[in-house]
Symmetry: C2
Subunit: 364 residues, 2 copies
């Protein structure tokens, strides 16, 4: 436990779900006094047992910052209630959409000088306090949306919160925020679900031919439908706009392929055009360390499915002075071995390959 | 080099691209005599230099099996030409669609007793002979489509080929094959491209909020548009059918979200229904070792971005007798550390977590 950050010695977390409890745990690691509240007494108790703080008793001294970690549609009412009782000097929230809670807060007559809307981009496939982790925000973007009325001290309090949690503060307009998460999170989730939905009634033969590509495309479709329905409801119009554009592109591609199937071979150009735009968009997604995508060299090695095989491999890399930037194991279905794909700086690739070969690995 | 397999001592590979050259390399490892042909003399030379075999001289003794590894629309003509000169006793191909080349072969009057259409499911994001690897088929499905006229010896020759390459033979009707790959490969590729295409014109702010979810959904969209246009052209109708269904689901979801945005809150049920079907489909995709998806326990540990950190971690796992089934490094953008997600048998999770903690790792 180190000392508390400047200006942030006590925090109230309202809503001890995954995100609220994770924030509380991160703050506790820095010695911040954390108070916990949730309409579910069991959730508060669990969070407390995890070391996230103590149960909040309304009516005491105002805390420095209240973090409203409840679903988007309940943020404004909580903000109003907390402000009425002077629960905190400053307020923020963590909802996955920003225009809706801000508009509702204005409508309810909340004090907008002490409130800064926020959104840590730290989703996990699990939910609830038991899945909480203090490190879940490390290096992740944390959007915050100061308005024209917001006081400088309120902004400073939220920046302190983000810093204590290890997040990467990104100032963004609330409408731009919602359009952005529609593009990079909400609409891709629905599209992945639509692709996965086709497999629900597919033959076992078809599933038997599935490979890593479709696994990647559909991985997020395993998320909780109820949780995602709430997220999508809160960002309905921006997500609808993206999905309409995706649906149109797919309908155009389907029509072009229908034309190809009756010998209009030139129609494939309309599909190629979409694939090229896909290339362009995919290449813009930032890679490791948040910078522009950087091309690592990939060294592949066949590894057996035995304890210690990868340990020996990484030991050889260490002895050769090579830092492995990323590793992915591709297991061969039905066989006790797999290919390890080791991402390294391009100049280190040959060094690593030589070292692995010298120690008996098959490096193609 | 071990001895040749029963009944397969010489093979002709026509088309020394990625798949053809990989097959040749796999056969060479078993001592099979391999002849190479390609309309591009440079590709044959490169394959030869990689140790894939010797250049084919037409007019010699028939080989046991000819593997036609050319794009789908050229398979039947090559088959006819090879059969006219008695180049081989049996014939197969490796094209990613099966109904088209079979129909064209019948139409051209090819001998259908000696030909078995085939398709190894071993795509890679790269192409050309330089990317070839003998191990690319290990444990992967390899579809083959015997017809009513196919001789038992022709089937045996293709099964020997699949065995020598380490593939997992899957007998399938050609039309069912094409519908299957439309579902599990071709349509997901186009859908991923359509999602990625939305990012081509997106703001830098939006891209800055991108996380691992959209990276997974769009990864395959980085594939070569020209190559994929050929693949999609050859399977146009089945892919169009899947894309039409996906586009309809997305249009329905978009319309439901539009209704939600004007306060028809019940409309979200139509989105939830799609998300649930997505859950059901996603859960059917086979995991590691080709079996039904098995739940591994995931142990997470924070690792520094330094040479040897993962080596030490795997060493600890080995010393604890724990086999790491899969590993995924999630690097924290902007920070020199990341979270390693280690998949292990559920009963080994606590053993590994304890061992890592005892050696100073932060295991949440």
């Amino acid at each position: 436990m180190s000392g508390s950050a400047p200006g942030l010695s006590s925090v109230l977390v309202v809503g001890t779900g995954l995100i609220g409890t994770s924030i509380a745990l991160a703050l506790r690691e820095h010695g911040v006094t954390v108070k916990l509240a949730d309409q579910d007494a069991g959730a508060v108790r669990l969070a407390r047992e995890l070391g996230a703080g103590e149960e909040w008793a309304p009516g005491g001294e105002p805390v420095d910052l209240a973090v409203v970690a409840v679903p988007p549609q309940f943020v404004a009412q909580w903000l109003l209630d907390l402000q009425k009782t002077d629960a905190a000097r400053f307020y923020t929230d963590v909802a996955s959409v920003k225009a809706l809670p801000i508009a509702q807060a204005v409508q309810l007559g909340c004090d907008m000088t002490s409130y800064v809307a926020g959104h840590p981009l730290a989703g996990r496939e699990r939910s609830g306090p038991a899945a909480a982790r203090a490190d879940v925000f490390l290096g992740r973007p944390w959007a915050y949306c100061p308005g024209a009325e917001t006081s400088a001290q309120a902004v400073q309090a939220v920046l302190s919160l983000i810093e204590l949690c290890g997040g990467n503060a990104v100032e963004v307009d609330p409408v731009a925020h919602d359009e952005a998460v529609a593009l990079v999170s909400h609409a891709p989730h629905v599209a992945a679900s639509a692709v996965a939905a086709r497999l629900a009634e597919a033959s076992d033969t078809a599933l038997g031919l599935a490979g890593p590509g479709v696994r990647d495309v559909t991985r997020v479709a395993g998320g909780d439908p109820g949780l995602w329905a709430v997220i999508l409801s809160g960002n309905a119009r921006p997500v609808a706009e993206v999905l309409e554009a995706v649906a149109t592109d797919l309908a155009v591609a389907a029509a072009a392929l229908r034309a190809v199937s009756v010998d209009d071979t030139m129609a494939i150009d309309r599909v190629t055009e979409l694939l090229k735009r896909g290339n362009a968009g995919q290449s813009r997604i930032p890679g490791k360390h948040g910078g522009p995508p950087r091309a690592y060299a990939v060294v592949q090695a066949l590894v057996g499915d035995r304890p210690g095989e990868l340990a020996r491999l990484f030991q050889v890399a260490r002895d050769a002075g090579v830092n492995i930037e990323d590793v992915r194991l591709e297991h061969a279905p039905g066989l006790p071995l797999g290919a390890a794909e080791l991402s390294v700086q391009p100049e280190a690739a040959e060094v690593l390959a030589e070292a692995l070969r010298a120690h008996g690995w098959h490096v193609p």
